[in-house]
C-alpha cells in the first residue's frame, strides 16, 4: 500500500519563458511534474506561485556528472549542504558526488550517508558516485553491487582523483557493473608518466621549471580503456578530457561503435596553461590546463558530439591549501556557480552550441549516462518539474566572496561572464528565485515516485 503524499505542493507558473530558447510559453508545474505548457500569459492558477520569466531561457535542470562535495572528511572545504546550495545557485538539480572522501565512498554505508545528507539538505539531488576499488587504492574491487543495491542506487563508479591503471582491474570493473547497468567513469592518468607532475608539459612548463603532465599520459589510458570496453562489451565514461589528442581518440572510438562517453570541464573550455606563468595555485588543477589548441579542439568536440557532457569537476579547497607555493598547493577549482556562464562564453557565444545543445550536454546526456531517470527530461507535460531559468543577456563579474560554496578557489574570479541563473526548480519546488537561494525542497514535497 502506498501512502498518499502529504499536503500537495503549491503549483508554480513560469510565465513567458522560452524553452531551450524557443518561443515564449507559460509552464505550469504541479505535484512535481509539468502539468501544462500554454500560450504566454494564458496560464493562471488560483493560489499558484507566479514567476515572471519573460526574456528568460528555460532549460531542464542541469545535471553535474562530476562534483566533489568533500563530506565526509573535509567539511572545512565543503559540505553536502554548502555544495548543494552552490549547485542550486548554478542551476543544477542533480550532482554526482565523487567518491574520494574520507572515508572513501566505497561501501553502501558511505554512499547512503551522502545520499541522505543530500536529501536532507534539499537543494539538489545528490547522487553519490561509488569508488571502483577499495580505498581508491587500485588493488581490489569495492562492493559495487552493494552500492548499486543501496538506497543511493549508485550507477556511476569512479576512483576519480586516481586512475584505475591496472588493466585487469579496469577490465573486471567494466564487466562487473554491467550486471546493474552501471558505468565506470575513468580519471585517465597514467601514473608513472605523471609522478610529481605540476602542470601541462610544454613550452610553459619548460620555462617555469615545473614538472610536466604530458598529454600522452591521458591519451594512452583512454585508448586502452576504449579497447577494453570494446572487448568486453561494456560502456565507458571518460572524465574531464583535456587534450586535442583525447578528443581525436574518442571520436575514433565512437566511429568504431564503442560505447564510450566523454566529458569536459568548463575550465578546460576557457583557460590555458599560459595562466600558470604567475605561479598562482588557483590555476593548479588535474588534469592541468592545456594549450589554446587543446581548448579549441575540446570546443569542437562538444560541438560535433564527440564530447557528450560538460561536467564541473567542482573541487573546493580550504584557503590554506591554495595560499602557498605552487608545488605545495592542492589541485582543483570550484565550478558549480560558474559552469553555465562559462559554457555560454566558451560554447554558446562562439556559435558551437545553441540552447538545445546546452540542455543536451549539461542535462540530458549526463542524466542518461548516470541513469538518473527523472532528470534531464524534456520540458513537456507529464515530465518531472526540474527547471532552470537563465537570463541569457545578463553579464556579471564573478565574485567568489558571494559564492555559496565554501571553496574560494575559482579561476574565474574577477572575470566578467555572460548568462545568469535566475531560478532553479527542483521537483516543482523553487530552490532558487531572483538569483538567490529561496528555500530547500521539503522532504514532504516529494513526488509519489520518491523523487
Amino acid at each position: 500500500m502506498t501512502a498518499a503524499p502529504d499536503a500537495p505542493p503549491t503549483a508554480t507558473v513560469l510565465q513567458g519563458v522560452r524553452p531551450l530558447g524557443a518561443d515564449p510559453v507559460d509552464l505550469v508545474l504541479d505535484g512535481g511534474v509539468v502539468t501544462e505548457v500554454a500560450a504566454p500569459g494564458s496560464a493562471a492558477r488560483d493560489g499558484a506561485r507566479v514567476v515572471d520569466g519573460r526574456g528568460l531561457v528555460a532549460l531542464p535542470g542541469l545535471v553535474d556528472l562530476h562534483t566533489h562535495l568533500r563530506e565526509p572528511g573535509r567539511e572545512d572545504a565543503e559540505t553536502v549542504e554548502t555544495g548543494s546550495r552552490a549547485a542550486a545557485l548554478g542551476g543544477f538539480t542533480a550532482v554526482h558526488a565523487m567518491a574520494n572522501t574520507a572515508p572513501v565512498a566505497d561501501t553502501a554505508g558511505v554512499v547512503e550517508q551522502v545520499w541522505r545528507l543530500g536529501r536532507a539538505a534539499g537543494w539538489t539531488d545528490v547522487r553519490p558516485v561509488g569508488a571502483v576499488t577499495v580505498g581508491l587504492d587500485g588493488e581490489r574491487l569495492a562492493e559495487l553491487g552493494a552500492m548499486a543495491d543501496s538506497a543511493a542506487a549508485v550507477r556511476v563508479f569512479s576512483d576519480d582523483g586516481r586512475c584505475v591503471h591496472d588493466a585487469v582491474l579496469m577490465r573486471r570493473a567494466l564487466e562487473y557493473v554491467r550486471a546493474f547497468d552501471g558505468v565506470v567513469a575513468q580519471h585517465a592518468q597514467e601514473p608513472r608518466l605523471t609522478e610529481g607532475a605540476q602542470m601541462h608539459e610544454g613550452e610553459v612548463s619548460a620555462v617555469l621549471g615545473l614538472r610536466g603532465w604530458p598529454a600522452v599520459a591521458e591519451e594512452a589510458v583512454i585508448a586502452r580503456d576504449m579497447l577494453l570496453a570494446d572487448h568486453v562489451g561494456s560502456r565507458l565514461h571518460v572524465c574531464h578530457l583535456s587534450t586535442a589528442g583525447s578528443v581525436e581518440l574518442v571520436r575514433w572510438g565512437k566511429a568504431r561503435g564503442i560505447a564510450v562517453t566523454a566529458e569536459v570541464t568548463p575550465h578546460h573550455l576557457l583557460l590555458t596553461d599560459e595562466l600558470v606563468r604567475g605561479y598562482d595555485p588557483v590555476y593548479k588543477v588535474n588534469p592541468p590546463l592545456r594549450t589554446a589548441a587543446d581548448v579549441e579542439a575540446l570546443r569542437e568536440g562538444v560541438a560535433d558530439g564527440t564530447i557528450d557532457v560538460v561536467a564541473t569537476d567542482h573541487a573546493p579547497h580550504a584557503v590554506e591549501d591554495k595560499d602557498c607555493e605552487w608545488a605545495a598547493a592542492a589541485m582543483g577549482m570550484t565550478g558549480l556557480e560558474t559552469a553555465l556562464s562559462v559554457v555560454v562564453a566558451a560554447l554558446v557565444e562562439p556559435g558551437h552550441l545553441d540552447w538545445a545543445g546546452v540542455a543536451r550536454v549539461m542535462s540530458a546526456a549526463p542524466a542518461t549516462i548516470g541513469r538518473v531517470e527523472h532528470q534531464g527530461r524534456p520540458l513537456a507535460v507529464g515530465e518531472p518539474a526540474n527547471v532552470v531559468l537563465v537570463d541569457p543577456g545578463a553579464r556579471r563579474v564573478v565574485e567568489v566572496a558571494a559564492h555559496a560554496s565554501r571553496g574560494r578557489n575559482s579561476p574565474f574570479a574577477g572575470l566578467e561572464l555572460p548568462g545568469r541563473v535566475v531560478a532553479t526548480v527542483l521537483g516543482g519546488h523553487p530552490v532558487v528565485l531572483d538569483g538567490a537561494l529561496a528555500s530547500p525542497r521539503p522532504d514532504a514535497g516529494r513526488h509519489p515516485g520518491g523523487w
Binding site: 613550452e203 621549471g209 602557498c324
Partner: protein, 321 residues
C-alpha cells in the same frame, strides 16, 4: 628594480648597468676596508628553505659588506622545517621589517608567490627556486665571462656580450642555472647552445632563445658556425640515473663530461665555467676543473660583487648612487 625573480626581468641596459655596478663593488673589495655604508639601517633577510652554504654565505657577505643588517633563516632547525607555511614565514618577516628577502626554495615559483601574493612589502630576490631560475648565478656568470672576454677587471665596463658564443652542457631539464643563463646571455647578445642528452632537455625547449644540440664534440668544434668562447658545465645529480635519464655515470661522462681533450678543441681564449658544487669525474674532469681555462674559483669571488650590486640596486636604487 623592485624584485629580481627571473633573469628575464632585466633589460639589456639594466643588465649591463648591474654588471658595471658589480665592477665598482669588486673594486672596493680590493681595498683593506671592504665595508661600504650603502645599506646602513636596511634589513636583508636570507630565507633559505633549501640547504646551500655557498649561496647563503655569498649573499650574507654581500649584504654585510654593504652594512645592511642581515638575518638568516635556514630550513634546518627553524620553524620552516617544521611545516610552517611560506605565508606564515613571510608574515614574520614583514613583522620584523625586512627590506629585502633573499629566498632560496625547492619549489619553482616560491619567490614569485612571495613577491606577488601581498604577504610582504619587501623586495624579493630569487636565490634559486626549484628547477626554475637562479638569476644572480647567471649575473655572476655573465660578469665572469665579460671580464674573461673583454680583457680583465673593469675593461668591459659599459659593454654587453654581443657575439660571444657559449656552450652550456649538462642537466638542462632540472637546472635553474641553465634557464637563467639562457635568458640573460640572450639579453646580453651572446649566442647560447645547450647540449644535453635528449632525456635531460625539457619538452618545449625549442621555444627558448638558444640553439639546442645533443653532440658535445660537434658543438665544441663549432658545428653551428664559430667555435665557442666559453663552456659552462652543469652539475648532474647521480640520482638522475635511477630515473633512467641516462644509463651510467661512465656513459654520461664519456658523452657529456668536460675534460682536457674536449677543452683542447676550443680556441685559446675560451674559458670554462661551472656553477658548483662540482662532481669531479662526472660532468667535469679534475684536469679541466683545475686547468688554465677554468674560471670556477673566480666565479665564487665574483658572486659576492654581483650580489652586492643586485642588493644595492634593489634597495638603494639610483638615488643613492
Amino acid at each position: 628594480m623592485r624584485h629580481l625573480l627571473s633573469a628575464a626581468d632585466l633589460s639589456r641596459e639594466q643588465a649591463v648597468h648591474l654588471l658595471d655596478v658589480a665592477e665598482q663593488m669588486a673594486a672596493t673589495q680590493q681595498r683593506e676596508i671592504k665595508k661600504l655604508p650603502a645599506l646602513r639601517g636596511r634589513t636583508v633577510v636570507n630565507l633559505f628553505f633549501e640547504d646551500s652554504t655557498r649561496t647563503r654565505t655569498s649573499f650574507e657577505a654581500a649584504a654585510k659588506r654593504l652594512s645592511a643588517d642581515v638575518i638568516t633563516f635556514s630550513a634546518k632547525g627553524s620553524s620552516v622545517s617544521k611545516g610552517e607555511s611560506l605565508k606564515d614565514t613571510a608574515m614574520t618577516l614583514e613583522a620584523i621589517g625586512a627590506d629585502a628577502v633573499v629566498v632560496r626554495h625547492s619549489a619553482s615559483g616560491a619567490p614569485h608567490r612571495l613577491a606577488t601574493s601581498g604577504w610582504i612589502r619587501a623586495g624579493v630576490l630569487n636565490a634559486g627556486d626549484g628547477t626554475h631560475e637562479h638569476p644572480t648565478q647567471a649575473l655572476l656568470d655573465a660578469f665572469t665571462l665579460r671580464r674573461a672576454l673583454r680583457g680583465g677587471a673593469g675593461a668591459g665596463t659599459g659593454t654587453d656580450l654581443a657575439g660571444a658564443r657559449v656552450v652550456v652542457v649538462g642537466d638542462v631539464l632540472h637546472s635553474r642555472v641553465a634557464r637563467s643563463n639562457v635568458l640573460l646571455l640572450h639579453t646580453l647578445g651572446a649566442r647560447v647552445t645547450l647540449v644535453a642528452p635528449p632525456t635531460l632537455l625539457p619538452v618545449g625547449v625549442g621555444a627558448w632563445p638558444c640553439e639546442v644540440a645533443t653532440d658535445l664534440d660537434a658543438a665544441l668544434a663549432g658545428s653551428g658556425g664559430a667555435r665557442p668562447d666559453a663552456v659552462m658545465a652543469l652539475r648532474v645529480q647521480l640520482e638522475r640515473m635511477d630515473a633512467a635519464y641516462f644509463p651510467s655515470a661512465r656513459e654520461y661522462s664519456r658523452r657529456y663530461g668536460v675534460d682536457g681533450r674536449r677543452l683542447a678543441l676550443l680556441p685559446d681564449h675560451a674559458v670554462l665555467l661551472h656553477p658548483g658544487p662540482m662532481n669531479r669525474g662526472l660532468e667535469i674532469s679534475a684536469d679541466a676543473a683545475d686547468g688554465v681555462r677554468s674560471r670556477i674559483v673566480e666565479q665564487v669571488a665574483n658572486g659576492v660583487a654581483t650580489r652586492m650590486a643586485a642588493l644595492y640596486l634593489m634597495l638603494a636604487g639610483e638615488d643613492a648612487a
